[in-house]
Amino acid sequence: MNLLRSILLLIILIIPVKANTIYNIIKIPNLEIYEINTKNKLKYFYAAAPFRLGTQKNIVCSNPNKKDLEIKYKTIYKNLSRYSYNYLKKINLKYIVMCENLSISELYTAGIPDNIMKTLILDIKFNGDYFERVIHHEVFHIIYLQHKKIFNDEEWFRFNNSKFQYAKCSTCTKKIGLDTYDKTKGFFSEYSMSTAPEDMAEVYSHMMYLKKNEIDQIRKLDPILNNKISYIENKIKQIDSSFIFND
């Protein structure tokens, strides 16, 4: 036992000091402050060097090019400024990490939400055509994780046609297209068909991204999506009754 303690002590004394405040708070290394004085109190960080995360170190992201970061930050800031401080507090989102080529177990992804650490990691190099919408898609994952009890996958599943089946997981399918369908038929995009939470996130992100009249039009033409939109609207109202999707 004493030997074990001595070894532990030796390790503690050998480990260099990680006197980095950001690391102490969100446990992601190599980050620096990009902007912390924002109206809704979101704190923006960027990767100053590549980082690896997770117990298997399977989450990887690189430091972005400064010019790209400058451009994408403006887009991210514009979109996330639509959320009030109170709303962000209720969904438990406080820190945004911007980096490049984000992947989990070598699968590239647009974002990684972590409601426990109040953090959303965003890949600023993710496909520019969908970038703005994807920001809200990832925000929804934070909401879903933080308020798991109010979202019911089974209830959601029943909105679909009886013959429809989701994939077993979001990466277990080749249906990953993010283009918005011209004729929706119950789903906004191909990726919506992967899993119930991804479908919910797609509905939410479209509700945030499209104009109100466009959403109203879709509601008129697509009864399944009409039910799904109502569901998301009601659940978000339960979290924050003052929240407005789009004027």
Partner: protein
């Protein structure tokens, strides 16, 4: 008969130089040994406070640190802090985590007590009073000298451990429960023993006493 030899001017100069060197060496030795020599020790009895009931005095190796507590900002956390201060729980407790010019942390009542330090577990100890909820909703600027309650990486896990920051930390706002601010004696804290290559201190300094001004 022994003939007296007069010292030359240069020999006298060397002698004076040697004497001066000796004085400097001894002087420096004592100054360095007493690291508290240039640290002012504030006497709380000679200071008028606006809210004397909210004043706590932490005595560390180099003197007093006078802290104003903010029950209006974090009522539950300050109540817990005062309960522990009044029960002398912080006496002889280690400053176990010290980052030079950045932060000092103390208050591990279970594994940080003088005489029974547990280096393997220090920083994980509890008070036995249970955890309390984080109070992070009120506005509070984490400027140099701010005192907050430490917690695990999860909210609502505050107990007895506290930290004092030695530099402004705007990111702590809304993250850690504030309990007060150092009014006098920040230099005393800057002299707390630290380790160059580790946040955790081997043979740390201890809190001599921690009392409320009005007992």
């Amino acid at each position: 008969m022994i003939k007296k030899i007069k010292a030359s001017a240069s020999e006298r100069f060397i002698l004076i130089l040697l004497i001066l060197l000796g004085i400097t060496t001894f002087g420096t030795y004592f100054v360095i040994k007493n690291e508290c020599i240039f640290v002012k020790n504030f006497n709380p009895k000679k200071i008028n406070f606006k809210k004397p009931n909210n004043i706590a005095i932490l005595n560390a190796p180099c003197g007093n640190v006078i802290i104003e507590l903010y029950p209006d900002v974090s009522p539950n956390a300050v109540r817990r802090f005062i309960t522990l201060i009044k029960s002398n729980a912080y006496e002889n407790i280690a400053f176990h985590r010290v980052i030079k010019n950045q932060l000092i942390q103390a208050g591990d009542l279970e594994f940080g007590k003088k005489g029974s330090l547990d280096y393997g577990k220090i920083g994980t100890g509890k008070s036995g009073l249970g955890t309390i909820k984080s109070e992070i909703n009120n506005n509070f600027n984490y400027t140099k000298g701010s005192v907050g309650l430490a917690r695990t990486f999860k909210s609502d896990t505050e107990d007895s451990q506290f930290f004092i920051i030695l530099q402004d930390e705007p990111l702590y706002e809304g993250e850690y429960t504030p309990v007060g601010k150092v009014l006098y004696g920040i230099k005393v804290l800057e002299k707390i023993k630290y380790q160059r290559n580790s946040e955790y201190v081997l043979r740390p300094d201890f809190i001599n006493s921690f009392i409320m001004l009005n007992k």
